[in-house]
Symmetry: C2
Subunit: 346 residues, 2 copies
């Protein structure tokens, strides 16, 4: 970027001169209007509008020693980015102005996550804090950030240490449990599960919700299977699963891609999703929407809002919360669980 100046825009002294007051009065009119008398206030604000004045964020930053910006890393390494990455970034971007800040994305082709990227942003004082995504066990970032005294909030729980509380996450088991409830209402009596290979905290959580839901609603426990987050492997796992099920049964899935696999496998054997087999996914991704799969939509707006509140609290020196925050996903019904005929209620 070049170093030649902009076309001049109004500064606070221009406004002050035009309104016949001092710098500080203009500043007060904008930042603490109660301090300035009603008539000067209106006069100043009118000039502000006329000259289209807004305080320079750079000058503010320099004065306050606050960037008014939150960094967030984009995953530029994995070929297939997460389905919710963009909606989540959008939610953050929308929530940011309400917290008097803006988002600054950064990324690296080398690795994800990339500690040096965080370091760089901090040293140049481009951001005050970070929002983390894709945190995993043994993630170095929370450690490093706390060591450096840099506020952060994570979308997704932080595993290593339960004393880490600056996070918000989706309540996975409540989600799958709600999916089972919906299937029960819709008339499905046997519910299986397609999850990820055991050991992933998120996946195990979602599986528990399925178990609990089936028990709670007095349904029959269908078979379960696992596959990684790949359509091909989801399809073959689904085929095995369908062998153990009959028309009129349902499958709860730990992700939308897995659910898509079930849908494709069902279609391949002539079962109509929603009618012959109930399918629910998880994440509310564009994929689910595209294929008409009922899915658990993550409340990304609420989560983004909460995460920015968390970093704000840290910047304000507020005490840490006692635990991370869980948010309930909401079921969006698609064709994959629609009732088009009465199912086997005795």
């Amino acid at each position: 970027m070049l170093n030649t100046p902009h076309p001049a825009r109004a500064t606070i002294v221009d406004v002050a001169r035009a309104a016949g007051v001092s710098r500080q009065t203009v500043s007060n009119a904008i930042n603490s209007p109660e301090r300035v008398s009603p008539d000067t206030l209106s006069r100043v604000l009118q000039v502000v509008e006329e000259l289209n004045y807004r305080p320079s964020s750079a000058a503010r930053t320099l004065r306050h020693q606050r960037a008014g910006a939150v960094g967030t890393e984009l995953n530029a390494v994995t070929g297939t980015p997460s389905d919710v990455a963009l909606p989540f970034l959008t939610a953050l971007t929308l929530a940011a102005p309400g917290h008097a800040c803006h988002m600054v994305p950064f990324a690296s082709r080398e690795a994800f996550p990339m500690l040096s990227g965080y370091q760089d942003m901090v040293r140049r004082r481009l951001v005050d804090a970070f929002v983390l995504t894709d945190t995993h066990p043994a993630d170095p970032r929370p450690d490093w950030l706390e060591q450096a005294g840099i506020p952060y909030a994570s979308f997704g729980r932080i595993y290593d240490d339960s004393s880490r509380v600056w996070w918000a996450d989706v309540d996975g088991s409540a989600g799958t449990s709600a999916a089972v409830a919906h299937l029960a209402e819709t008339g499905f009596r046997t519910v299986g599960f397609l999850g990820w290979p055991a050991g992933s905290a998120v996946g195990d959580d979602r599986r528990l919700g399925w178990l609990a839901g089936v028990e709670q609603h007095g349904l029959a426990l269908g078979p379960e299977a696992a596959a990684p987050q790949s359509l091909r492997q989801a399809i073959s796992a689904a085929e095995r699963l369908l062998d153990g099920l009959a028309v009129g049964d349902a499958i709860v899935c730990a992700s939308d891609v897995l659910a898509l696999g079930v849908q494709q496998a069902a279609l391949a054997r002539g079962w109509r999703p929603g009618r012959d087999i109930g399918i629910t996914g998880f994440d509310g991704s564009a994929t689910a929407q595209l294929h008409g799969i009922s899915t658990l939509v993550q409340p990304l707006d609420e989560i983004a809002e909460h995460l920015l509140t968390l970093v704000h609290d840290q910047l304000a020196g507020a005490p840490a919360p006692t635990r991370g925050a869980l948010f309930l996903p909401t079921l969006t019904v698609g064709a994959s669980t629609v009732t088009t005929s009465t199912k086997g209620t005795p």
Copy 2:
């Protein structure tokens, strides 16, 4: 965001003191090393490393009257965001540091695009320029930005006025033409087309490439159909199209979602994609990747790089190019065009 200060970090005077030189010498050591004698240079740089010093971007911005940031609007209105929006933003974010800047996303739930958002960023001097996406005929943004003297570059051509040249786009006809070439090589002899309803500049362009490709390679012109960017409608359009085709023929599509529709319709009648019917999509989206559809991948890195160069040139006062820039997509072969048997070459 709050107004209490950061944990103190080293400033240029700290470095100067520690190195026993003046502010300006440190500044020179960083910005124009050739101006400072070799031994002081190394001494200063060593202290810079020890203290982990980096110039404050806010102070730089204030001094240079340059934000060193480029704004870009995220579409928060349409339910289904574009498949390439995130990869494109990632490409921009990766390219930005090479242009000594960073990206600042913004969005609004009200409308897309939202002029007041651009206005606000400019008034607060948060960004120097914008990268536009989803430009459409009668888009108010290019007009407004040029009027205001604000540099911009658009991903996607600007329609109204051929004197508008600050854009880069994908060469759609070259892309579909390359897809036809690939189908010809793979052994398909008849190639149909599934596009969008006539009238969209992008769609019409891609259709022309299909026509040209078929002619150039001496293939038989298959039937064509059109559907909007919706899976359901793509499937029904594809069904009609398949009625007019036989096993061993192929369909070039104007988008990945359309191609997905063809794939689903083909599967529904027992035709194996790639073997019984060739299918190509367009955009290189995650959808295509997920479903193994051959697609024309947009060179997003190149385009992002070029767009940032365009805004840089404008900031530098460089003369406008004579026309917008077109970039060639590259075909990624998936299962939907794979050769698993010899096809009807006589």
